[in-house]
Amino acid sequence: MSMSPVEGVALAEVESGGDADAPKEEKGFVGRSPGQLAWLRLRGDRTAMVSGALLVFFVLVALSAPLIELLYGIGPSDQFQHKLDRFGMPLGYAGGVSGDHFFGLEPGLGRDIFIRLVYGLRTSLLIAFAAAVITAVLGIALGALAGYLGGWLDAVINWVTDLVLAMPFLIIALALTPTLTLRFYGERDAVSPAFGVGVLIAVFAIFGWTSTARLVRGQVIALREREFVEAAKASGAGLGHMLFRQLLPNIWAPILVSFSLAVPQFITSEAALSFIGVGLTEETPSFGRMIYQSLVYLQTDPAFVFFPGVAIFALVFAFNLFGDALRDALDPKSSR
């Protein structure tokens, strides 16, 4: 019987010990985490950098909306009827674009389009981010528990997921929003803008968590049988350690990607719902509502359609590009 594998022992300890760390690593080598590597890849991706810069710009604009209002000198509800002609159309070229009103005026009410876009961006991003965060938290919690614990809990959560997926989103949103509004406000009361925003976020949260839950559940099931998880179990780790220290750090990548792709989806959904007249109140500035109002003036005042349309397009496009770039950076093996 050959003993060669083990008897030919004591080869030089080629691999262990001080390999190449003599000259240049004297000040202490710090290992690069997978996250840092992904960040480096993201930095090298021009699309990611451009779309990321655009997103940062949008977020900054949304955050500093009151400041912009202050500098601009016009609020989102201010009306400039005297700058409209007697048919309610803005005077001047391209829907009244001027030094005072960068993007012109709304026909009819005569509100300033630029400042309404700035506030509309705020509404859209608030709704989309809040909905995405809530759906992510819900989805991660339910998915991780279902995947890790399995058994009846998994069955119940799966069943609920299927149930939610089977419900038609648009119809329920159409039916739910007015009913909810009526429960809290009378037929003729003024609905507060915050309430409309809250209802929209709630509707998105109820319907949006399923995809994250499924994603996380699948990932957790795949990881659950890995040996490093078993090693933690064999050391006596509890549920919290298993989920938050061992499992979740390994599935941040897909969660981040799904988050960054969920945000633009919620932006367009919000626009769609506002477009069909559900959710936000009239005075709440929002992309969807502006496009909805502008369609009447498509032929007479195309500039009114143009500015909100371009804004929402740029926002969603930047988010989608960034999400794709993020996916590539986090998982370089996936095919483009």
Partner: protein
């Protein structure tokens, strides 16, 4: 090997049956492990060998309670831990650790080496003298790695180095018994030697007991004082290393030993080639489980299950009605014994030289 001491680990009738659904209403049981008895004394190394699917890994996972046994009992240091809950196990976890087979899967890719090795300490709320970091450095040094590498990530290490990290993690709690589940099978041959020698040094220096699961008989011979041979969820032979390797009594052990690839010589009996496949553990053969492939099988082998009993007063126990005698490789392979149970037609001899 101090005979007569209270064993550190006492396993009796250990079994693991997995329910499987076959067909519309058929429900079967895979008897992955079916009635194991063995002891491991403090500081002793027991090798668990056998071919793929014989239940070695399942046994190892049951010992550290990653799998719940369905039968039998596991006693560790005099305490029954067969069905102990997580809280009861906590003090024992420190004494009972596992090293995994695949060094690429057994380290969390998102944690630094320092965090990986410190994990057992943190999970059990242990603050070693000098702090966790000092202990991690000490462990890294112990397994032959540069202690300065504690903040590197697993992907920056080679397979052998990763396995050393896994070993350091298992040592973090100063265990008394380590279950090593094929710790070197995923490694390159030259690295295997390093890791096995590291384990042997650690075993000597720290007085560790090992349950060493492997399919590589040469590695087991190098590392283990005692060897148990498993076949289809059962131990067919257990004994001291030299007895098993020099004087195997069970036909299966002989076949297994003769199957070791050898570039130099074959014994006079040549290679015993077993015909057919291992029977399904869903429906294992009656009597002796090996009889369907054994060249010595007779009627009694189908009727009666041979108990694992020591013969000629030694430490070696064999579960066989017709144990072999004489050194390995001596003439009593299938060539020597006429194929008595020709009806089964299950065993074929082949002298390949």
């Amino acid at each position: 090997m101090s005979v007569g001491d209270e064993p550190l680990l006492r396993v009796r009738g250990l079994g693991k049956h997995f329910p499987v659904r076959s067909g519309p209403r058929g429900r079967g049981l895979v008897r992955a492990v079916d009635g194991l008895d063995f002891d491991v004394r403090a500081g002793e190394t027991l090798g668990l060998v056998g071919e793929s699917g014989c239940g070695k890994t399942t046994t190892g996972r049951m010992l550290v309670r990653l799998l719940e046994p369905t039968a039998g009992s596991i006693e560790f240091a005099g305490r029954d831990i067969t069905h102990a809950g997580r809280r009861e196990l906590r003090p024992l976890r420190q004494d009972l650790q596992i090293i995994f087979q695949d060094p690429y899967a057994s380290l969390n890719p998102r944690h630094t080496v320092g965090r990986i090795i410190a994990m057992p300490l943190l999970v059990n709320g242990i603050d070693p003298p000098g702090g966790v970091k000092a202990r991690v450095r000490e462990l890294l040094e112990l397994v032959g790695l540069n202690p300065e590498h504690y903040n590197r990530y697993p992907h920056e290490f080679s397979g052998g180095q990763r396995q050393r990290i896994g070993i350091a993690r298992a040592l973090a709690l100063r265990p008394k018994l380590i279950v090593a589940d094929e710790p070197v099978s995923a490694l390159d041959v030259s690295i295997q030697a390093q890791v096995v020698n590291l384990l042997r040094d650690l075993q000597r220096d720290l007085g560790l007991a090992f349950v060493f699961i492997a399919h590589d008989l040469a590695v087991v011979r190098h590392f283990c004082q005692r060897v148990a041979v498993m076949y289809l969820g059962r131990i067919v032979e257990i004994g001291d290393r030299d007895d098993i390797y020099e004087r195997p009594q069970h036909p299966y052990t002989r076949a297994l030993l003769s199957a070791v690839p050898d570039v130099t010589t074959l014994g006079p009996a040549g290679r015993i080639r077993l015909a057919g496949d291992v029977p399904t553990p869903l429906n294992p053969p009656s009597g002796c489980r090996f009889r369907t492939r054994c060249w010595k099988a007779r009627d009694i082998c189908a009727a009666e299950e041979p108990p694992l009993v020591p013969r000629d007063g030694g430490n070696q126990a064999t579960a066989c009605h017709f144990p072999e005698s004489g050194p390995a490789g001596a003439g009593s392979g299938p060539a020597g014994a006429a194929p008595a149970a020709a009806g089964t037609g299950a065993s074929v001899e082949e002298v390949s030289r």
